[in-house]
Symmetry: C2
Subunit: 410 residues, 2 copies
């Protein structure tokens, strides 16, 4: 019942048997595969092999009548925030836009003020709660951005809170420095100085403390220009961080093209991507990470051109963009619902984007996001007859059992 699970058992299991239906990317045939019945064996946290028979040993998780999918992967979230922003949500119902609210001191800057005041331990506790809810909804790997601190001290605090939260939760995390989420108020008239702090202080400090794998920039009109983005992300790369983009969310400014040119792992949002941007992603290894929950929550009706991206050959991932301002939602299955209704993706494409597509967006495509020999044993058993029902029967949490690295968490 409900979302906050107290008990975090972690029983290693030998496999998942009597599977109703299982659906996964097959890395050899390079397509999604649908199977029925049988057993997936697990050894040392990794899927070893598939056997058509069933096992009665108590070490096996019985999946009778259930749907088995890889653990869902959420490759774009902002979980380290101090306070919810439901008052701004109410303001939007009265006709204010997200940009209007930001212009009057709300938005990201509202979160920045509150985050800076919050003790690290309390922030960590909040992040743990959010991880628990994510796991309960089938997310086994999550990318977590900082970005509500906007000072070296508070960005480090955010990333440490994510790291310590991760150590107490079975969820698997990757962290991203997003010092370039906004220009902090105190540098409004001197943005170059703040960029210099990101480049010369934050990035080295984060790398030194091993607090993040990635660096991200909000490349957007009114936030960071493409050339500022390039400056920051070049520095990140030189320091050994993988790079990610908030690109073409509201205005097309060449963000996707720049992401492809720089070899970013992922270009995210893309509601306003140009045809040139689509071609650039299709010809690159940069994943198009789509966040339909943000379009939904902001009510803007500007949906990323998923169909064009897929048809042109780009790899598409789905993510929640979980954050207190533009999408207060952490359910990956709901993103699959939005993908089918609003992005014209099939239920199978949506599941692919929420598993192997998302894994590629995090540089993990050879290890996670598939139920296959040699892949990490992250999986979800759903109360559903078939994979199409996940996106279709929305608003109810169908996750029944969650397995992370071969251990049963729920």
């Amino acid at each position: 019942m409900g979302s906050t699970v107290a008990s975090a058992q972690t029983n290693p299991i030998k496999g998942i048997t009597n599977i109703g239906q299982w659906v996964s990317w097959n890395p050899e045939s390079r397509q999604m595969e649908i199977g029925e019945g049988g057993t997936w064996l697990i050894e040392a946290g990794v899927f070893s092999e598939y056997q058509p028979g069933s096992y009665k040993d108590s070490g096996f998780l019985d999946a009778r009548g259930m749907l088995l999918t890889p653990g869902l992967i959420d490759p774009h979230t902002h979980p380290a925030f101090a306070a919810t922003r439901e008052l701004e949500f109410e303001m939007r119902s009265q006709g204010k836009s997200y940009q209007d609210i930001a212009a009057t001191g709300g938005g990201i800057r509202n979160s920045v003020r509150k985050l800076r005041e919050l003790p690290e331990q309390k922030l960590k506790d909040l992040v743990v709660e959010r991880f628990t809810m994510m796991l309960a909804h089938g997310t086994t790997t999550v990318e977590c951005k900082s970005g509500y601190g906007l000072s070296t001290e508070s960005e480090l605090k955010s990333l440490r809170a994510i790291q310590t939260a991760s150590q107490t939760s079975p969820i698997q995390t990757l962290s991203t420095l997003l010092g370039a989420h906004e220009i902090p108020d105190e540098y409004r008239d001197n943005r170059e100085a703040y960029i210099s702090i990101i480049v010369n202080e934050m990035i080295p400090a984060v790398v030194e403390a091993k607090l993040a794998q990635f660096c991200d920039v909000f490349c957007e009109e009114g936030v960071y220009t493409p050339s500022e983005t390039e400056e920051i992300l070049s520095a990140a790369r030189k320091n050994g961080l993988g790079i990610r983009f908030h690109a073409d969310e509201f205005v097309s400014n060449g963000g996707a093209e720049l992401a492809a040119k720089m070899g970013a792992l992922s270009a995210d949002h893309l509601m306003a991507i140009s045809d040139e941007g689509i071609s650039a992603l299709a010809e690159s290894d940069t994943v198009a990470t789509l966040l339909p929950g943000t379009t939904f929550f902001l009510g803007t009706n500007t949906w990323a051109p998923a169909r064009k991206l897929i048809d042109s050959g780009a790899t598409v991932a789905l993510a929640t963009d979980f954050n207190p301002g533009s999408n207060m939602n952490l359910s990956m299955p709901f993103m699959m619902t939005l993908a089918v209704i609003y992005l014209q993706m099939t239920p199978l494409e949506a599941l692919q984007a929420a598993t192997v597509g998302a894994a590629k967006s995090l540089g993990l495509a050879s290890q996670r996001g598939a139920i296959y020999s040699g892949f990490q044993a992250d999986a979800v058993l759903w109360r559903a007859e078939n994979y199409r029902q996940l996106a279709y029967f929305y608003g109810v949490n169908h996750a029944n059992h969650v397995v992370v690295e071969g251990k049963q968490i729920h």
Copy 2:
């Protein structure tokens, strides 16, 4: 975790104490009221009085840190269906419209074929499962329509399945005969004969067997005309049933005006309502029951004009329209989310519409939908700091405890 709750304890409680925040319609001041702390006492299944202090007696439900609202009321659902329709959902992702699918034998007629084949006991079991999920998401009263039978025998079967399901579930139900949901295939060329069956067979049989309180007609271009609707609902009223309308969903055909003229309890959908229809509802006691989940699920972007309805003085209710074709969702909090984002309703108006507005739509406004002396003790305790978070933090089930007629169900 998840949605299907096995344990249905039913402990009578003496009250709800240490309330974090409580929000309810006040029938004396005729507005929504927000309070903090204190205790609501319950006697014989009814709220007796509010006390500012707290109680330590074990018979009280401790609501520390939780939000208390009236039990949610869902005044428009179609829970008596035999099979889910995720294949049609997939077809829509590939560009087929709801009407395209209906024209090729899918849609309601697909559900009719499967419902007629399903034994009544199995249908009842499915309805019980759905009631359990509704309760788990905070719905304490639900209106349930037949309408996938389209023959006297199978409409009666549907209503009996709802009735027997209701007897084994703590949820409270009201039933609606919706024999006029479609024209059955076998009467395509002789619709007058089918209407005559509804009027002369179904309605009397349903009243005789005490299987429904209401009668409803899908008054829409291509389904039932306004004059056919009037004929059927006049007969229903003569037989003692309350009347409800599916009105102005896709095309404005005077359905809302007719509902008001006939004194219907509710006119539902209203995405295409005319200004005359809005005026007619505003001047009547007929509730405008809005189903934003259907617009969302069909992806049509045609939202009912909630703001105009409220501002002109009509009473607005929210409902899920839970059904396998046009909205596979049974979460009233998600309807509140849609209401805030897409219907420009405030979070407080959304809660009002999901409680007292919905109660009025079912003719229960003096007994349910409010936490107030003399009102039935139906309530939900939510893991939320305040009522705005219910609509804002969507996609997660925040319902923690559910109370029906003074008994704790969860």
